[in-house]
Symmetry: C2
Subunit: 241 residues, 2 copies
Amino acid sequence: MQHAAKSQPEVAMRNPIQCNQCSMQSICVPAGLVSSDVELLDKSSREPHVYNKRAMVYSPDQPMHSLFAIKSGSVKCYTIDSEGKQQITSFHLAGDIIGMESIAKGAAVTYCEALETSMLCEIKLSRLFAQNFNGVDKNLLQLLSKRIGQRNVHYLNVVNTTAEQRVASFLMAMGDHLHEHGFSRQEFRLPMTRTDIANYLGLAVETVSRIFTSFKNQGLIATQQSILTIKNLQELQKIAA
Amino acid sequence: MQHAAKSQPEVAMRNPIQCNQCSMQSICVPAGLVSSDVELLDKSSREPHVYNKRAMVYSPDQPMHSLFAIKSGSVKCYTIDSEGKQQITSFHLAGDIIGMESIAKGAAVTYCEALETSMLCEIKLSRLFAQNFNGVDKNLLQLLSKRIGQRNVHYLNVVNTTAEQRVASFLMAMGDHLHEHGFSRQEFRLPMTRTDIANYLGLAVETVSRIFTSFKNQGLIATQQSILTIKNLQELQKIAA
DNA sequence: CCACAATCCTGATCTAGGTCAAGCTGTCCA
DNA sequence: TGGACAGCTTGACCTAGATCAGGATTGTGG
């Protein structure tokens, strides 16, 4: 992800990192493969594709037999309801694998749009299955299982919680995710708009804005442009709980 | 599930149905196996276990390397928050496979409790993997993928919707699920309390109760005890949308 | 078959957060 | 370099649904 403290810009775009050198190896689908197996991966599974801000990665009903690994940047997944209103189901940052909910149908079930210039690797399922890599299925299975758990956690964060709790746990989740991928937990860029955050959390923009202001006044966070600093992790955590 | 129109009580308990005769075959994990393979399944994967009302199927952190297929009855899955309050993440009826979110951790992440006398088959993952059944992994994968999609749908039904919409789409979802498994879409038993429904949908019990009454007054539904009849599917659907 | 506990319903208030309106800030391009 | 536009903030008001309180049903164990 385009990040304040540790950004890796177009370099990787011109010199694609091999899977066995990739920083995402431990979380990527090929995780658990010995390095020699990685070589066998389809070339298209190794070369990241660049998406500009607002570019669509996939759309509902589009046939899809791949997952995508986000090497850098971020995306939002959303559906459009009967009144044409966007409803965001998830945000994904560098280090995430997306598209898991498409496997059942063989086609995308949501829109997926880049929030900023992003690099994604396409991982073709057919290759994974055909080459019958040892351990791949089990890894994939664990990945999907984990995702179900994450969806449950997000659900719990939204149902039966106050607006303050939702925003606090959203910020904590962002920090935790980035931290897991070697970035700072307390200082990062929010690639999505307040409107997107509000939509995702089931709140009005105004509410999100007010809560940000309130958190700033309490000295819990600081912002300048889209850079967010968590100044009091403990207290924010307490609110999120 | 214990059902008004089509119930299958203790019979199956005493004479366990073989997997290849089981009505759930098409949705169960062994789906896609040829019948001869089914014979190889662990005996424990074929004999349903009976859980009485309020019996716990599993609890968080309990080591778990199985899925459970609900042959009859129903369960609720929930977590307990920091204040000791129960928060229901999902209900499951006959025909559902549960425990998918436990695969990643190798241990349960929620409580799972029978809502009524229920029969569940334990499906050991180790057996499925060890015997390396052809097609099992792919089926499992599709199952998990589908579940992620379902979790998203439920999330969308709760975020940014009115109380009326939530209750309507909850009832529709119940009907649809039962219909998929050969039961009546419009007349069924609600095995969970209003309190449980409210908790699941992020509402107060009183609100759920009022909406049930309102739907009754509008002639959309009828209830007697826990039997619910959807009298105007179209209208209810319209509200749910 | 009765009693008592759980569940369900209904009415009266209260409030978190939505909605509406308007001003502010930053950024992009002519 | 100055609109114009998208995003953000703030204030005033208003409603959906929570909370509180009580009463009606149900169903369950002794």
